[in-house]
Symmetry: none
Subunit: 250 residues, 2 copies
């Protein structure tokens, strides 16, 4: 049913096993990802691709246009197709630096490991009808960039939808990655409310800042591919050193 082109998988069409422009697309993407072409380098010109792959310019252009749409290159008239800096996070809120400084610089600690409990008054979004009926799972984490404590994150969601969650280790420390890989649930959208507040004593203690420091309070409601699984989050961020970033592309 699915076929592999390079390292990528495509749904197999009946008589056209491979789309030519996808072949070129996958080839170029791999070259970029493997570092043959670095940021600022120019890819082979359209005419060169025509010869290499025995295709017409229309097809070569289609591949390059797709590559541009995905953010890998910028086409420049009279010069060529230059490898661009890849777009990072898409829509979800992320601490600036989380994506760039992947790995050592960033880590997360549990303030409260997952447990079954009642819905909290702290949740800002109205809790949906179906959700009220059951109890929920809750966990709370503290996120660091380097030694700086930048965010308290609290999460609630209906307990019935994720069986075995209390016994599951987070995959690579990520809740969303766990949802995706263990439960095959994807986040489809979110709704958020933003408030600037002054840190109360408890928040100030955890974030190690002075009481009364301005903090960013983000209230999130995530919609997922399991329509019964709404995730409610409340984030409290110290934006002094690291602002919260958010990217959106049509």
């Amino acid at each position: 049913m699915y076929i592999q082109v390079g390292r990528a998988w495509f749904y197999e069409r009946k008589s056209m096993v491979t789309l030519k422009y996808q072949e070129v697309l996958v080839y170029l993407k791999e070259q970029i990802q493997r570092g043959k072409y670095n940021i600022g380098d120019y890819l082979p010109s359209e005419n060169e691709l025509c010869v290499q792959f025995s295709i017409t310019r229309t097809t070569a252009r289609k591949a390059l246009e797709e590559l541009q749409k995905e953010g890998f290159i910028v086409k420049i008239r009279g010069k060529g197709s230059r490898v661009a800096e890849r777009r990072k996070s898409l829509g979800l809120l992320s601490v600036k630096g989380f994506s760039e400084a992947v790995g050592e610089n960033v880590h997360t600690e549990f303030l409260q490991r997952p447990l079954r409990t009642k819905w909290s008054e702290e949740i800002q979004h109205p809790i949906r009808e179906g959700d009220k009926d059951t109890e929920c799972f809750f966990f709370e984490r503290l996120r660091f960039v380097g030694d700086s404590r930048v965010m308290i994150g609290k999460n609630w969601f209906p307990a019935d939808e994720l069986p075995g969650f209390l016994d599951t280790e987070f995959i690579e420390g990520s809740f969303f990655k766990t949802l995706s890989k263990r439960y095959l649930i994807e986040v489809l959208g979110s709704s958020s409310e933003l408030r600037a507040e002054l840190a109360d004593e408890k928040e100030a203690n955890i974030l190690q800042i002075e009481k009364g420091t301005p903090i960013l309070h983000v209230s999130l409601l995530f919609r997922t591919s399991n329509e019964k699984l709404n995730i409610y989050s409340e984030l409290y961020c110290n934006t002094d050193e690291f602002p919260i970033g958010n990217h959106y592309n049509l």
Copy 2:
């Protein structure tokens, strides 16, 4: 230097006064905006457009692809090009209540009417290379919900891309609506940074709050269908009564 196609302005190329696909694009966009085609309707097929405009399918397809990229239609194999619901909050931040309470409850006042000036140090996003070369237009507004002053909005963008802007009245008081209807430019994406700050004296005065009240500072960079038109915005919000809302859908 600039020419008008329909109600929209384009930079004039030397020998090709009008790009054919843009002619089609502008025509279809106007038809949609004027309500000839409503959400769910199907546009003329590619072949019909070929006949109407005396063009080949390649050119008709180019126009439709652009229209799809800007979010106006969805192309469906075997059926046609269906007018889609234009995604509204495009990652745009909106004061909660602005959309619900459209009309009487909400209004906007200019603190500074549009003028030509230099780029400001206040802009948080790095100003892109091409943008630095020219001067910019700037305007500043204060937004109310009822009698409450909830947001100061400052906007900058390259002056050369919007000819006649200083003499243009805002359509329905909206900058983005003006961009869309007068210049046929659509917002394709945004990148934002969020910070919680304490109001300084000037901000406090304008928003009529106490100095030192926590305010939400949103730094935005909008990407549009005119790749030379980047819009830089700095918003200062009093979220005490009205939090800032943001919706995202994949």
